[in-house]
């Protein structure tokens, strides 16, 4: 009893902070899920599950505390502890480990000072390579202890002393990593573009998946779904996937790419660019559901497609990069299905639409209304006969209306321009400044110009 009321309090607080709460049980468990990732993203993902998923909350938070204590980032430990203190006060992890905090903080401070002194030494010696490495060390250290802004600055300073393309690459990769953690999508994209612009002969192939995945995540973060889909779809599956293990798994790529493509591409593109793509197919094999949803959409079986997606939704809502966009993306897919469904008809009963797309017995009518209002669907609802009627354009009437409108507009504009010419020719423009004074001045000037 006590545990559940603690959870309730925790989630009501999360909700007030704007977090998305997921009550359904996802298809994975925390242990196996987080095993797929490496590096700092593990903690971020655990925390996200902790603050969003009701069934997995405690497990995830406990894992987050352990994860934080494995590293040196005191801020992260504090954040995880804050959460678990509210959500599960009876767990052993809910007790604050002050000794650890203190010792880690001291060690961190000492390390920072040491690295700074070292860097100062390099600077005095004016050895470029050493300065660059010094900056890199400081950056890595700061990133590890959670001072991301300072870390980004340190990495940024590396750029002054680069001497090979490899160095530029390192620098940009560090910056991308920090920017991803800070959710600074603009900086993610600009830095990753610096990498893709490089001419690296050998490692090019290995880097391509990393570049495209990061680019895709950045574009997804900025809500540019179409571009993001294109980026994900271009990921070369032959390259080394290890290079982005700290970022996303092949399963993630399949879901991101597949769903975004479903939301933004037309039937033809879905077939040729997604299902028939030799490179993306490897990813889709990890997630057969997504693959099935796409082929169902292509075959016009929209309700089946949507029900598969519904099952996927919970998992997506617990994904670090997808969470904020799930609602929009799923809505788009749903709308697309409805529109596609309606295309061959001039008139459909609301009942059949309800059967195909109805959610929990609610009528689809209001959803259709909002779609028409947004201009997504060109149709009218006839709520007396319970029909959705396609707007049949009468091209002749349209042409006539257009012709008249153009004529009227032309006439009006011509008149107005003539009027303005004559206003100016008569010297009647409004002039700046105090009216009375200026008018005298203005008239005086006119008089003198006439005299002259």
């Amino acid at each position: 009893m006590g545990a559940s009321s603690d959870l309730l309090a925790f989630f009501s607080r999360m909700k007030s902070q704007g977090a998305i709460i997921v009550e359904d049980l996802p298809k994975f468990d925390v242990e196996s899920y987080i095993g797929n990732y490496q590096g700092r993203t593990r903690f971020d993902r655990l925390m996200l599950i902790g603050e969003s998923s009701v069934p997995l909350c405690v497990d995830a938070l406990k894992a987050a505390v352990v994860e934080a204590k494995n590293g040196r980032d005191v801020g992260r430990y504090r954040a995880a502890w804050e959460y678990i203190r509210v959500a599960a006060p009876n767990e052993p992890e809910a007790k604050r480990d002050d000794a650890w905090i203190e010792s880690t903080e001291t060690a961190n401070k000492a390390e920072t000072t040491r690295l700074e002194v070292e860097l100062k030494g390099y600077r005095n010696n004016l050895i470029k390579e050493s300065i660059r490495m010094g900056n890199e060390d400081i950056g890595t250290h700061l990133e590890e202890i959670g001072q991301l802004k300072e870390a980004a600055e340190a990495y940024g300073r590396m750029r002054h002393d680069v001497s090979s393309t490899k160095h530029i690459l390192d620098c940009a990769q560090h910056l991308v990593s920090v920017a991803l953690q800070r959710r600074d999508w603009v900086s993610v994209i600009s830095n990753v573009n610096k990498i893709s612009g490089l001419q690296v002969a050998d490692s090019e192939k290995n880097l391509q998946p990393y570049v495209k995945a990061v680019l895709g995540i950045g574009q997804l973060g900025m809500g540019k779904y179409h571009e993001a889909a294109a980026s994900f779809l271009q990921i070369n599956s032959n390259g080394s996937l290890a290079s982005f293990q700290g970022l996303a798994t092949p399963n993630d790529i399949a879901i991101y790419g597949g769903l975004l493509a479903l939301a933004t591409m037309d039937r033809n593109d879905l077939q040729t660019k997604v299902l028939d793509s030799s490179t993306f197919r490897t990813f889709l094999e990890h997630e057969p559901h997504v693959r099935k949803a796409i082929s169902l959409f292509i075959n016009g079986r929209y309700s089946n497609c949507l029900s598969i997606l519904d099952a996927l939704q919970t998992d997506c809502l617990l994904d670090l990069y997808m969470q904020k966009h799930v609602e929009t993306i799923f809505n788009r897919i749903r709308r697309k299905c409805i529109i596609q469904y309606f295309i061959p008809f001039s008139c459909v009963t609301l009942q059949s639409l309800d059967e195909a797309f109805g959610r929990g017995g609610n009528s689809i009518e209001d959803e259709l209304a909002s779609m028409i209002r947004d201009g997504a669907l060109s149709a009218r609802i006839d709520s007396k006969s319970k029909l959705l009627v396609a707007v049949s354009a009468d091209p002749r009437a349209q042409m006539q209306a257009k012709a008249l409108e153009v004529a009227r507009k032309y006439e009006q504009e011509a008149k107005e321009r003539l009027r303005r010419i004559n206003v100016i020719a008569s010297g009647l423009e409004v002039v700046r400044g105090k009216k009375q004074m200026d008018e005298h001045w203005f008239e005086g000037e006119r008089a003198s110009s006439i005299a002259g």
Binding site: R373, S383, K384, Q400, E416, R419, A425, L428, E429
Partner: protein, 485 residues
């Protein structure tokens, strides 16, 4: 009396149609000087026997003489004429004067018009009617602005007697008096363009300033608002806000007009109006700085968020009051729900009253209407006053439905052909006006100066280039001069 009579009646000479323009002009000027030379005893005679003197002259044939006599009477300190006879005489001359003759005595006519428009001689309806008729007599197209326009608009608005003024107010004005108009042709030349006949020189208009023009269109806007003709009001105000400016100038009238324009735009189109393309940047920034609360409310008008809309209106109540726009805001509040209902036609072909009640809220309270009956009566009113094209039908379960009908303005091909022909005709007329303006402006000194400067520049460029052709040209020029010299 006889001398007076012979002088007055000496015009127009009964020589028929063969007289040239030059002769006509000469005769008119002779007559004018004869009138001016009338002795004071003759003038006294006019004052003593006004009715008899007026009877001597036919106002339609000899407008100059009639105006002269009338003017003497109106200016007199003491009147020997019955008020009704004087008023009759004024009406007669204003309705029948000769538009060419009055060019010689424009100041007399203008004086009379101003008297009618300000002196409360007539009941407002008559005064407005007579003024409008006289103005159209001077300029049948009504396309030339005069000082009398503002007089008429103001008078009609203040006396709330708008109807008879509309025939002037609805004309599109395209020409304005030119202060420095120099006309070499004779006044009685029937070919003379409007800018030469209705000018400060002929006295048919007083000098006009920018503020006069702005105020005229502003008052027109107010007049249409009082008639609830929102689209016309919006267009009138649009002229004010997009008025040509110079040196980043913005007039206060323009700023005031912009506020009203925003609200009237909501009433006429149901959405925030957009600036005409030719609005000056300085004016736009001034508007944005002065009308932020209006903009906020206007932006909320198009949304379904009635609570916020009403809140925005209530929290700025003092601003509306201060700007004198309180009643306009009330109109906007009333129109809010109507436009919400109208917008449903983009979604529904038939919609139940229940849904209307659910989807739309009153702009006065921010709440949905209390029951479907109120919705029905609101929709009924909208259909009756033609804001909404549709009908109320009853569904199978006894519920009321609103069925929207097509918006098309014409029904047959014939109607369409007529509309297009009308538009074509209008544009043809316009192109004539354009030609006239072009001709007039080609002779404008600024333009001529510009052309000369351009020519000099081109000449200079040529000589700079120093090409072979240019040299040949030079030689030819020399030859020419030598030859003629």
């Amino acid at each position: 009396m006889e001398h007076l009579s012979s002088v007055l009646k000496s015009y127009p000479p009964a020589s028929g149609s063969s007289t040239s323009i030059k002769q006509q002009d000469e005769q008119t000027r002779v007559y004018l000087s004869a009138l001016a030379k009338l002795t004071s005893s003759s003038k006294k005679l006019i004052l003593e026997q006004p009715e008899a003197v007026l009877k001597l002259i036919d106002p339609a044939k000899n407008s100059i003489g009639y105006l002269f006599v009338l003017n003497t009477l109106v200016n007199a300190t003491e009147l020997r004429i019955g008020r009704s006879s004087l008023l009759d005489a004024i009406i007669v001359i204003l309705l029948s004067f000769d538009p060419i003759q009055v060019r010689y005595v424009g100041n007399l006519l203008l004086h009379l018009l101003e008297a009618v428009g300000t002196a409360k001689l007539f009941p407002p309806r008559v005064a407005v009617e007579v003024l409008a008729a006289a103005m159209l007599r001077l300029d049948p197209n009504g396309s030339m602005f005069t000082s009398t326009h503002l007089l008429l608009a103001n008078y009609a608005y203040e006396t709330d007697c708008v109807e008879p003024a509309l025939k002037v107010l609805e004309r599109d004005i395209t020409t304005y008096p030119i202060v420095t108009q120099k006309e070499q042709r004779l006044y009685c030349d029937p070919e003379l363009p409007l800018t030469s006949t209705i000018s400060v020189q002929t006295g048919l208009t007083a000098p006009v300033k920018a503020a006069t023009v702005l105020e005229y269109d502003f008052v027109r806007g107010l007049i249409y608002m009082s008639r609830r003709e929102w689209t016309k009001a919006r267009k009138a105000l649009e002229r004010v806000i997009a008025y040509p400016t110079k040196d980043k100038g913005v007039s206060k009238i323009m700023v005031d007009a912009h506020k009203k324009w925003l609200l009237v735009g909501l009433l006429s189109d149901g959405e925030v109006p957009s600036f005409p393309g030719y609005t000056s940047a300085a004016a736009k920034s001034a508007y944005n700085a002065t009308a932020s609360s209006y903009r906020d409310v206007a932006a909320l008008f198009g949304t379904t968020n009635a609570v916020e809309f009403v809140g925005g209106i209530r929290s700025n109540a003092s601003i509306w009051l201060e700007d004198g726009n309180k009643s306009l805001i009330q109109e906007v509040q009333v129109a809010y729900q109507k436009w919400q209902i109208l917008n449903l036609r983009r979604i529904y072909r038939e919609v139940s009253m229940h849904k209307i009640q659910e989807f739309t809220s009153s702009g006065e309270t921010g709440e949905p209407l209390a029951n479907p009956q109120q919705v029905v009566s609101l929709v009924q009113r909208m259909i009756e006053n033609k804001t909404l094209k549709g009908e109320i039908t009853v569904g199978p379960e006894g519920e009321n439905f609103l069925t929207f009908q097509d918006e098309q303005e014409w029904s047959s091909e014939k109607d369409f052909a007529r509309e297009i022909a009308q538009a074509h005709h209008n544009i043809d007329m316009l192109s004539q006006e354009y030609k006239a303006s072009n001709e007039r402006l080609s002779g404008h000194r600024d333009y001529v100066r510009h052309v000369i400067r351009e020519q000099k520049r081109v000449d200079k460029d040529d000589s700079d280039a120093g090409g072979f052709d240019a040299q040949i040209e030079d030689e030819d020029l020399m030859n020419d001069i030598v030859h003629h010299g």
